[in-house]
């Protein structure tokens, strides 16, 4: 059996890749995909931890797995809203470059 540490290490690498992606990619769609990667890194960690806690009783282990389903649903809802806003911007701008979002002073 692969130890939990390896899964968590993989998930933290995925999370870091996602975070770097958010900070460096220019297209809003790619930023968005990077956020999804971060969420799924968290899901991987949750599943790995749930397996680790399986010795501590079924409820403890299952609560981690159900959390994954809830987060999947949340991610889907986020996609729906995010793409909606994106489409409405794209409709008159014809670009999803986040650097073009410079109208507002920082």
């Amino acid at each position: 059996m692969v130890a939990t540490e390896y899964y968590v290490a993989l998930s933290s690498i995925l999370f870091a890749i996602g975070a770097v992606g958010v900070l460096t990619r220019r297209s809003a769609i790619m930023v968005f995909l990077s956020v999804e990667l971060m969420l799924n890194a968290a899901n991987l960690a949750l599943v790995a931890f749930a397996r680790q806690w399986s010795g501590a009783g079924s409820i403890t282990a299952l609560s981690g797995q159900t959390a994954v389903f809830i987060i999947l649903a949340l991610a889907a809802a986020e996609v729906a809203v995010g793409l909606g806003i994106l489409v409405s911007i794209f409709r008159y701008r014809a670009s999803t470059d986040v650097d073009a979002l410079a109208e507002i002073r920082l």
Partner: protein
Amino acid sequence: MTFPGPDINWVAFTPPLVLLLTAALAVLFALYQESGRLTAQLSLLGLVVAALFNLHLFQVVRQTDAFTSFGLRYLADTPAIAFNFVILIGTVLAVLMSYHYLERADLDHPEYYPLILLSACGAMVMVAAGDLITLLLGLEIMSLAVYVLSAWRQGSRESEEAGMKYFLLGAFASAFLVYGIALLYGASGHFVYAEIAAVLRGDGFDQLLLATLGGMLVLAGLAFKAALAPFHQWAPDAYTGAPTPVTAFMSVVVKAAAIAALLRIFSSVFPDLSPLVGQVFAVLVALTLVLGNLAALFQRGVKRMLAYSAVAHAGYLGLAVLAAGTVGTRAAIWYLTAYTLMNVGAFAVLSLIADRNDRGDDLERFAGLGRMKPGLAAALTVFLLSLAGIPPLAGFTGKILVFQAALQAGYVALAIIGIVMSVVAVVYYFRVVAVMYFREPEYELPAISSWATSMAIVVTVAGTVLLGIFPGWWYGLLQAGRQLLAGM
């Protein structure tokens, strides 16, 4: 394998449930409506009913005991109910502000009001959350609706960009929150605050590093929602770009929910983590106080100045969070009540002065307002003086309470920074007042009359003054009943 049946106590979550049902009904009505009038009226009705249920809940909790539902995952204790009242007041005022504003700005779509109700419903779930997953659900329900609302002005670059920025950064922040939740689960095996705290306190707990890392990530996610520096970058843009009633709603309700969540976590899980978490939060609060106030000092536009002032007020609320527990919680709720009234009031006045596309909020525009529109100018003066913390208005008592809480918790340096910064704040609030009364009019102001917005202004002025003169009444109510905070 047997599972216990769900422990559902319906009474505990009647207020958000009422809002959810009203929103669902309003969405159905919205299918057959061109104008938002009907859904606005329905929403107001739903909000009043939710307030009545909340009042009932409060009376029961005062006499018997706090309600819990879904195990300890949903807590309806005195702080939660008080926060519900703050959220309901903020939402009612935002709906009143929007009633004529949307028509004037050509943004009148009936789906607007259900979204506001859903967001308030999410905020109430967040306020009552006794576990990390409930917290996450509430936060997302609240945020997803607000993302759409802040991009409501279609075809306006500022509004859509505000929505997009807020959404991308918000999703980024919630990813941090989710990962933090995963790490806390990995360290403790639980999501419920009380159970996590019990594990952390137990003998032979050796995952402190993992748990502290998780706690830090959760802190970052929530600090983003509360607009604490350095996670406040989105706030000035989103506040400036969004339609003014939405700005008022965001700056009040979203902040209240995030502060409530922080209070619960700070009084349950965080004390048992490494003290580093508290120190990091103290640094965030200090940064927020300094950056928010100094940035507000250099803004030309009044709306943007108020946006930075909202960031600064998150810092004062952070002082109370550091003293989480009974005193800090009461101070935070009291401060938020006062802040809700005076901040929404200021935005309501602004919505009657700016152009229909929210442009023209420059300081020059307020010149001579005292002569042209004495009523509006007087109301704005009350709000700004209260925001600055001038006695006897509500903002003054609020500041005293949070400084007191911070001093009691031993954060003397932070309290001093807070006091110094509130002196700085007087400068930028007074500048607007001075321009209103001591400069000649330069602009022809649009003639706007809206009984709904005027009503909101009257209510907020009365609230700001009365709360300031009789601070003990509301504070006394906050002391009643049992404070579960984390279900312990």
